[in-house]
Amino acid sequence: MKLRVITILLSLFLVMRLAAQESEIDTTIKLDLLKSPSSPAFNLLGISPSLIERPSDITDFRLSLQNATTNFSIPDAYAVELAPFLMKRKKYLLNTFNDNKYTIPQTFVVSAGYSRLGPDGGDDVDSLKTTKLAFGIKFSIKRPGWTRKTEKIYDSLINLQKHLLNAFAQISQSNAHNEQVSVYKVELKGIIKKPSANWTEAEKQRATFLTKAIDSLEVLIGNESNEAMQELRSDVAEASEVYKKLKETASSFSQERKGFFIDFASGIVVDFPANRFDNSRMSKAGAWLTMGNENGNKGVTSLFILRYLYQPESIFADPQGNLSTDKVSTFDAGGRLLINAVEGRFALSSELLYRSVLGKSDLQPSWRFVLNAEYALWKNQKLSFAFGRNFDGTISKGGNLIAALNFVAGLGSTRKVATKEN
């Protein structure tokens, strides 16, 4: 038995040595072609990302609109991207970014765009200009959680914040201006012992004065206390030390995520050919659903994309451009799977792309598949396997394992397999 195992291993080793003529397989990852654009509406409308306004609150949005419509003139193009849930008074603080409950409101982005442009060469001719309106949404349905490392750093950040909050309160309470604040407060508390309805005019005026005076002093105390912490002063050495550590931790904090995710994006463009609102047609539309498992290229990492496009610029399934894109809908899908196992000794990567034109029988759906696998036997000795199928059905293979498999299993096989991709 031992002899048989040694013989097989030796044969494998020899075959691996001899099989230097590995066939080349196109393993280029082309999944990026299907990825949803960062701004779906503007991508469909053809507006450059640099022209997009991104106001962070209502005031910014109002200013943006004002600037765009200066002197009551309507601009040739305007694009705005808003995160409506982030404009509310309640802000999403760092602690909510690791909770899937807040994923949709934190990632929800609405985009709206407008353009009134003429064809190439006729940009300035008013009668040739077509008005286009675009609208898009984008959000995450499920977001991966923080990695253990990120959670650990966050915990230490919170502990330092707790220390500094208490230190800040102490610094604030020991400020010299508090003496005057106390005097004013005693007087104010004396006045408010009576209901305000019974205050005399002099008491009303005094209460107003004292409130303003205390407020001013508190602002002064606040400024001085913050300065004391930030300037790392020796009289507040302990707080300054915590401040320094907290600053280091906070400035280097990054949210590393790991786990399952689902993202959705969609956009639509409506044309107004005669520049009239009662004459419109949908010129383009698209929807992207992206999901997968983010694992930092360790263990299992996967990505799957589904894409629907209506009247795209070019049809993915028709690279030669034989088919007109007029009223054409396409559905494309892609997947990528990466597996790293056995302490990094086994690695598998595969990619699948599917492309189709909906409702057209003259162009059949096609698919492409690539698979690469490697297993490290010993140092500098790897067993590898590669397999590929192109859109046209051509199959290719490579790696030293395939040679071994041919050697072992090829005795009774008459099937011919191409060794080179098209």
Partner: protein, 135 residues
């Protein structure tokens, strides 16, 4: 039925203030007064402590505080509430730190917005709000 008087919101916005002292008018009733505390901006990290006289109502709470019951109008008369909040600039998108406070349930709604833009990434800002309840 007489139309109920709309609650007037007192908004005291000012630039780069980190502290505030104000008076909040309560009535002689059993109606409860509630506090909302919203630190910001989005993506920053914040910790808050809320005290009513010497009683700590909330100690070192992360993030926002919503609908905190401070007691009835009548109970709060003459009492002082102190809020300490520390906001640390963690977000790489903004250097702005903010603190919004809203009091509801008294005679009128009362709100205050404080803010400070930090000088460099990772800086922290300490905020203090003191409210004296009167009738």
């Amino acid at each position: 039925m007489a139309k109920k008087k709309a609650l007037k919101t007192l908004v005291n916005e000012s630039d780069e203030r980190t502290a505030h002292f104000g008076m909040y008018k309560v009535e002689d009733s059993d109606r409860h007064v509630h506090l909302d505390l919203f630190p910001g901006a989005t993506g920053q990290s914040a910790i808050s402590t809320v005290k009513l006289e010497s009683t700590t109502l909330v100690r070192e709470q992360e993030g926002s505080i919503e609908d905190l019951d401070l007691g009835t109008n009548a109970e709060l008369r003459g009492q002082e509430m102190t809020i300490y909040t520390l906001v640390t600039d963690v977000s790489h998108d903004t250097d702005l730190t903010t603190l919004d406070m809203i009091l509801k349930g008294g005679v009128e709604e009362y709100s205050i917005s404080l803010k400070r833009t930090v000088q460099s990434q990772g800086d922290s800002v300490g905020y203090k709000i003191t409210i004296l309840f009167f009738q």
